[in-house]
Amino acid sequence: MSGVASTAPAKIAVSDLSVTFAQGRRRVAAVKSVSFAVEPLESFGLVGESGSGKSTVLRAICGLAPVSGGDIRIDGQAIPQPRDKAFARRVQMVFQDPYGSLHPRHTIDRVLSEPLAIHRFSDREDRVVQALKDVGLDARFRFRLPHQLSGGQRQRVAIARALIVEPEILLLDEPTSALDASIQAEVLNLLTRLREERSLTFIMVSHDLAVIDHMCERLLVMRGGEAVEALDRASLADRQVRSDYTRDLLTASEGYKR
């Protein structure tokens, strides 16, 4: 699992990451000493059920959850604390709920222009138009408000917003779980295409083993804040799993058995 063995450093190396939320005397260890390394241009999956800490890992990487132990490195460099503008330029996140992640009173144009203004991009106008085109949205959506868009269209806007600052790493937190199956297929295809075109590195979180299997080369199964098992695609396809929990997840992904 260590990316240290290879000559080039891993794109993202997470080692012994712990996240503990403390409120008064109550302490909740959401992530307990989780390690993994993601190679450049790789797509890496985190799978688990609610409370497994999979989303918290992503949030810890981009500074939305407190890191209480271990470290996170990008290209061998420790990430800045707190995360700075240069970090945000390189690492972007797409959230689960396309209904909650867009400002309800901002037009799509404003949603997409804001990151460009923050990072002082030139020719913003053209970039906004191009960003919409890249995610397969018609230019007429540009001056609409989020409530005038469907769930799938909103998620496309969220992806466009993340990619508009040309990041190297995209963190995807259940990007399709709020969408219908047919729309999910469209968004997954879009993400696959953009990853190739833009040479992106993905970390994708999902509760759906089949989605992760489709999108990722390697994955980590998590449960109760701990890493259960690291797998690659081939061993998953051959059902070569060691833990009973992963086997349960595999069975569940096939539907109900009489």
Binding site: S182, A185, N189, R193, L209, D213, D248, L249
Partner: protein
């Protein structure tokens, strides 16, 4: 088993008349349900939940539900008064909703909510109501019924809460259970446990079940028969076991767009909607 179906729906329509015009959520749906598991599948906006609600006459204004026939066990539900309808709801036909968090009263202990349902429908002593509720909780595989009985809803996990909902709905021993996405809010492994419970109850009690879901794979493995809905119409009705032989392009599209463990990495086939399906 009676030869007549438990539920007979003919040409059911649900429409919403607002000042921005009329929206038809359900457009002429006909089907029957016996003592079996019938799945209704469709995407959001296909009218599957509205169909479930219309059977219980729970469509809220400005929505209007009309059917040529809406017969349950030989009784036309549309001709019943609201008072008579209340004796059908819960007692003969029960409904389980998607999210236990929003269906349970947060400030009432689980036990009290469960026995309240029982006391509405039957004249029953508190002690007996309690023992029936505890029995029912044990039936839905809750290991410590006493603890759950005296717990508040927020003290229960999602899976536990959904079991409580199912137990509560099943206490009056209904003949037909309408389950509207009963497992969508649950983790996959818990989902299977809840389905197992529903399955056993259908088998042991000879109950009819209408299982509403967006998950075609789950429905096809769980139900006996599947109704596929698209924009308020049933586009295909098929035995679950023969779903792979489905002929309608919409059903085929829904089946094909799901990724599979060990499947190909090629782009997923997307659904090309045809105006003629509507």
């Amino acid at each position: 088993m009676s030869p007549a179906p438990l539920l007979d729906v003919e040409n059911l329509r649900v429409r919403f008349e607002t000042n921005r015009g009329v929206t038809e959520a359900v457009r002429g749906v006909s089907f029957t349900v016996g003592r079996e598991r019938v799945g209704i599948v469709g995407e959001s906006g296909s009218g599957k939940s509205m169909t479930g609600r219309a059977i219980l006459r729970l469509v809220r204004p400005p929505g209007i539900a009309v059917a040529d026939r809406l017969a349950f066990d030989g009784t036309e539900l549309q001709s019943l008064s609201e008072r008579q309808m209340r004796t059908v709801r819960g007692r003969r036909i029960a409904m389980v909703m998607q999210d236990p968090k929003y269906s349970l009263n947060p400030v009432m202990r689980v036990g009290r909510q469960m026995t309240e349902a029982l006391k509405v429908h039957e004249r029953i002593a508190t002690r007996e109501a309690r023992s029936r509720a505890l029995e029912m909780l044990a039936d839905v595989q809750i290991r410590d019924p006493e603890r759950v009985f005296s717990a508040y809803p927020h003290e229960l996990s999602g899976g536990m809460g959904q079991r409580v909902m199912i137990a509560m709905m099943l206490i009056p021993r209904p003949d037909l259970l309408i389950a509207d996405e009963p497992t969508s809010a649950l983790d996959v492994t818990v989902q299977l446990e809840v389905l197992r419970i529903l399955d056993d109850l259908v088998k042991d009690r000879g109950m009819g079940l209408i299982f509403i879901s967006h998950d075609l794979r789950l429905v096809s493995t769980f139900c006996d028969r599947v109704l596929v809905m698209y924009l308020g119409r049933i586009v295909e009705e098929i035995d679950a076991a023969r779903l792979h032989e489905a002929t309608h392009p919409y059903t085929r599209g829904l089946l094909n767009c799901l990724p599979e463990v060990g499947g190909s990495r090629a782009p997923l086939p997307v659904l090309h909607r045809d105006a003629a399906w509507a």
